[in-house]
């Protein structure tokens, strides 16, 4: 790469390829207050749903030897409150805000996006098809390429802004889902979401998470993300946003080499709220030092 290092995404130029992953940065407001958004290309918000959701009963997170299980349950105040309270504050963010959208039904996705279109704030959307489809007995929307395409078509029909479809690694074929998202009109895919995981207390025979299973994240997941990014980016022509296992500058460069357009940092941000600047700076040093 040549200096100055620039990354172009959704027709905008950034001096960093780093996106802050949904669920780990709120709406960026806390990080903005501390000046920690420097180095981030954009913030991806917590999931926003049509109605408010109080989230799952605690404990919502459990740490394992080599990673973290979470079962937050898409806790959020609902799209009305997001429009009324959070987005007006997000006007001051030093970087764009992408709103993550979730739902219980296929129709929820366009309904939430339609409401968000009323605000000038969102740079784009990230459509979370990893959540359970109530009509299909709780199987993730993302398990079926037909449903992924259907949601993408509906999102496209109401959105004036670009959107990414956040795919699930847990059910179905991620490559087929990526192809379906592109066919439905998506402007990117996010590869991917947390992996279904569970911890058991062998003494009590009980799982510490109230819902038993949760989403697993860990720096150890990086090779799984690299493989999925490589396979999906070879199969589609829209950008792939990599997500999963990033905690070093080398990881970002590796994912870009595998075909990612932009790279998300999630769990590591919880440990290092200034991760974006730290990783961007050390990535630039690596690029400068490499022949």
């Amino acid at each position: 790469m040549d200096k100055p290092y620039k990354w172009t995404f959704w027709n905008r130029e950034f001096d960093s390829p780093i996106l802050l992953a949904s669920g780990t940065a709120g709406f960026g407001l806390e990080l903005m207050e501390q000046g920690f958004l420097c180095g981030a290309a954009a913030v991806i918000s917590k999931a926003t749903t049509l109605a408010p959701r109080e989230g799952n009963p605690p404990p919502r997170i459990v740490e394992t030897r080599f990673g973290l299980l979470n079962s937050i349950g898409l806790a959020n105040p609902g799209v009305d409150e997001v429009l009324k309270t959070l987005l007006p504050q997000a006007v001051d963010l030093p970087c764009p805000l992408i709103i993550n959208v979730a739902g219980d039904t296929v129709e929820d996705f366009p309904a939430v996006i339609e409401r968000l279109e009323e605000s000038p704030v969102p740079f784009g959307y990230e459509v979370n098809v990893s959540c359970p489809n109530v009509a299909a007995g709780g199987i993730a929307f993302g398990a079926s390429p037909e449903i992924v395409e259907r949601i993408s078509i509906l999102a496209r029909s109401v959105s004036s802004r670009p959107f990414s479809v956040k795919l699930t690694p847990n059910e179905g074929s991620i490559v087929e889902s990526a192809i379906a998202a592109e066919a439905g009109g998506a402007d990117a895919v996010t590869v991917c979401n947390t992996f279904l995981g569970m911890k058991m207390d062998w003494r009590t025979g009980k799982a510490p998470l109230k819902r038993n299973v949760g989403g697993y994240s860990s720096p150890a997941l990086l090779p799984l993300t690299v493989a999925r990014v490589f396979k999906t980016s070879s199969a589609i022509s829209i950008p792939v946003l990599a997500s999963g296992g990033v905690n070093r500058a080398e990881d970002i460069l590796e994912l870009i080499a595998a075909g990612a357009a932009m790279v998300q940092v999630g769990t590591w941000l919880m440990r290092r709220p200034d991760a974006a600047r730290e990783l961007r700076d050390s990535m630039v040093s690596l690029l400068e030092d490499s022949p």
Partner: protein, 246 residues
């Protein structure tokens, strides 16, 4: 940097860190820090610790080894530097007037700093045994242990029978949830309204973003332990639901 480490009771440590003076200015009692206990990637998240006390340019925490994070911390030598985030969260409202502090086990870890900043009249401490009983010098203290190895034999609630609740304008309460709930239930309504509770939860980020550390809120929904608290008015918590979780 760790400037002092001491095992004050079996498996219970006091560690003092050197911190910038700007940290001390913000380190009100009841606030907490997030420590990166390892330079390695694992454990992945930081560990939260209540600020026990501050002096000069140092901050102290008191903790018990309960898992891998605290085990690593207990084995870390003086002179080592660790990444420390904070002070975080909302601490105690430092009301004037007389204070009563009620602590169960390690729940008293945050009281030295609180006692130094308030007019603390009485400290009630309960623990399973004297091996778990923290002491705070210079405070009028009544202690009770479940096995009778120090002070009276019994539960902290046994010490409450003779408390003159009206003589305290503020009450601080910290300990295991069932213990705190039992204490709250013994209080007259006015005392309960004057009580501030220091809560504990498994924490992700520590700064309000991840929603990992929920505490059931009175009237429904959840509070964020890290940014709405960790110190809450006792009345803002749904004690039934909170006890159910533990």
């Amino acid at each position: 940097m760790i400037i002092e480490k001491e095992e004050i009771l079996p498996g219970i440590y006091r560690i003092a860190f050197e911190v910038p003076l700007s940290f001390i200015d913000e380190a009100q009692p009841g606030r907490f820090i997030q420590l990166e206990v390892s330079h390695d990637s694992f454990p992945v998240t930081r560990r939260p610790f209540t600020i026990s006390s501050t002096s000069g340019n140092s901050v102290e925490i008191i903790f018990e080894v309960v898992g891998r994070g605290t085990e690593i911390l207990a084995e870390t030598d003086e002179g080592r530097s660790l990444r420390l985030l904070g002070p975080l969260g909302c601490g105690y409202r430092l009301n004037p007037g007389k204070w009563l502090l009620i602590g169960g086990g390690l729940g008293a870890a945050g009281f030295p700093g609180l006692a130094a900043r308030t007019e603390c009249d009485l400290l009630l401490l309960g623990a399973s045994s004297r091996d778990k009983l923290l002491t705070i010098p210079g405070l009028e203290t009544a202690a009770i242990t479940e096995d009778g190895s120090s002070g009276r034999n019994g539960l902290i609630t046994d010490l409450l029978e003779t408390v003159l609740w009206d003589s305290f304008g503020s009450i601080a309460l910290c300990g295991p949830v069932p213990m705190m709930k039992a204490v709250i239930e013994m209080m007259p309504l006015q005392a309960r309204a004057n009580t501030q509770v220091s809560a504990e939860a498994r924490m992700g980020c520590g700064w309000g973003a991840c929603e990992g550390c929920s505490v059931p809120k009175a009237g429904g929904g959840f509070l964020k332990c890290c940014s709405d608290g960790p110190v809450f008015p006792a009345d803002s918590i749904d004690w039934e639901r909170w006890e159910g979780i533990h």
